[in-house]
Amino acid sequence: MIGVELVKLLRRPRTWISVVLTCALPFVVAVFITITHLTPPPGQGSAFLSAVLEDGALYPAAALAIVLPVFLPVAVAVVAGDSIAGEATMGTLRYLLVRPVGRTRLLVAKLVSVTAYVLLVVLAVTFTAYATGVFLLGPSRAAAVGQAPPGGGAAGPGGVAGTGVAGQAPTAGQAAGGAVTSLSGAPLSLLQLTERIAGAIAFITVSMLGVAAIALFLSTITDSALGSAMGALAALVASEVLVTLNAATVVQPYLPTRYWLAWIDFFRQPIFWRDIQRGFGIQVVYVVVFLAAAWANFSTKDITA
């Protein structure tokens, strides 16, 4: 059943259109920055954008920060909200269930399929942004210098961007040699950067699964795919409003979007774990609670669509 859901996901034009559109936004941003050489000053605008001119290899992180607030949650809410409700509207749900596919099994397969979709989008954004960053914005200035003293990237003292110590590759290949500067100013080797981007991808994926779980739950309640996607997005907007509201400080630690940007802490040296752990914990709670609710509702529901 899981295989069937993956085939359905991958053979659906919508999947690829949304992936292309999500990847296109950071690309367009990169084109503008390349042409104008204007980036937001540090501390303003989307995270990392201020640093990408110095170091194109940091662009995947900037791209993830660009798509995270709207594009990613919208795409995930649409796909997850459609998962059960869309089948119900099309009428295919009843035929799947009498095949028979167990209701729990169907829900698990949908969850796996949504997870695969989230990973697909996030990885696609990461890789296209890496290519964009390296080819359009250029590799790290440090890589251009190309000197690689023994001892690895993390050893050398930090400093302003572009003066970081180069990585382990003496040949100074464009992609392999550059040392990237962390947000804290300390340099990161390519290995460290890769690890941290992987960490960020994992964190963002888990955050998106929180959205997906809410949308999936709503998808079992209504037969309207649009309704469940919009419902999940409404929950996120509400959370965003409360996160910025001082009067709501009491509930803020429990809001789904409160720690959404905590993955940025992966790019500090050393990694600042506190918010990452809290964010991860909150998302796991949301995923478990809403999946349980989805299961409880779906497994006892009359299928009248």
Binding site: T92, R94, L96, P100, I303
Partner: protein, 305 residues
Amino acid sequence: MISTSALTKRYGAVTAVQSVDLDVREGDRYGLLGPNGSGKTTLVRMLLGLVYATSGQIEVMGQRIPRNVREVLPQIGALIEEPAAYPHLSGRANLALLDAAGPGGRTARRTRGKRIDEALEQVGLAGVGRRPVKAYSLGMRQRLGLAAALMRRPRLLILDEPGNGLDPRGIRDLRALIIGLNEAGVTVFLSSHLLAEVEQLCTRVGVLDAGRLVLQDDLAVLRAPTGRIVVDTPDADQVAAMLDGQVEHRDGQQLLVRYPDAAALNARLVGAGLRVSAIGPHQRTLEEIVLSVTGTGSDHIGGPA
């Protein structure tokens, strides 16, 4: 094959199905009749475990539903209201996905292609299985839905309004297909609001009216001669005079006569020099039978409750 006892489904204050004792025997071609809104679809969905009964019991092939749907459903082919398919995929890909979603593992996978070919052939779609479903006509979609019901070579077919969307030729093909399958040992349970379709196709009839099963019997029993004779004669006045007291009803040249035997009556009329155009034992039509046991349809607003 199917038996229910005191099966009841309530949606809030509305009782959709009330205390139904269905009895479908192996080898039957059972036609469930009833006006729109009489509870046919709800009943069918309960038999398939899609809708949960409020009270009462269901047994299909000797197994309790919904508890043992896993054992029973693989042996059932079902068409539930309209057919449904993923529009961007071909008919064949739709069948393959649906089949792969179900149980059966390696055996099912090995025979899949052959079974799909067979099913498409049976419903007359062999040539168009590779076209995307969005290019299908209504009748072709209905045929594809039938193919989906047939591809697992079921012992029991449950078809909800199978004639929908088919043209007269399609209806004739469907009738031949159902009779052929039935003769090969498949029990058929179908619901319809088309009396003529059921009368031509079925061996056993149930009539649902406002959620109650008001009639259930073999068609041969229901349509047994009523003990009266229908006489068509141009000499209607003379015949009426001659058989005074035995004529129950007169409609132009047609008389309904209480008489033990049609041949004897014919001999007597001809012996008396009266012309007879047609003569035969009187049978009630299915329409008369159904109308005599049902009230107004429940989608008739303002009728008696």
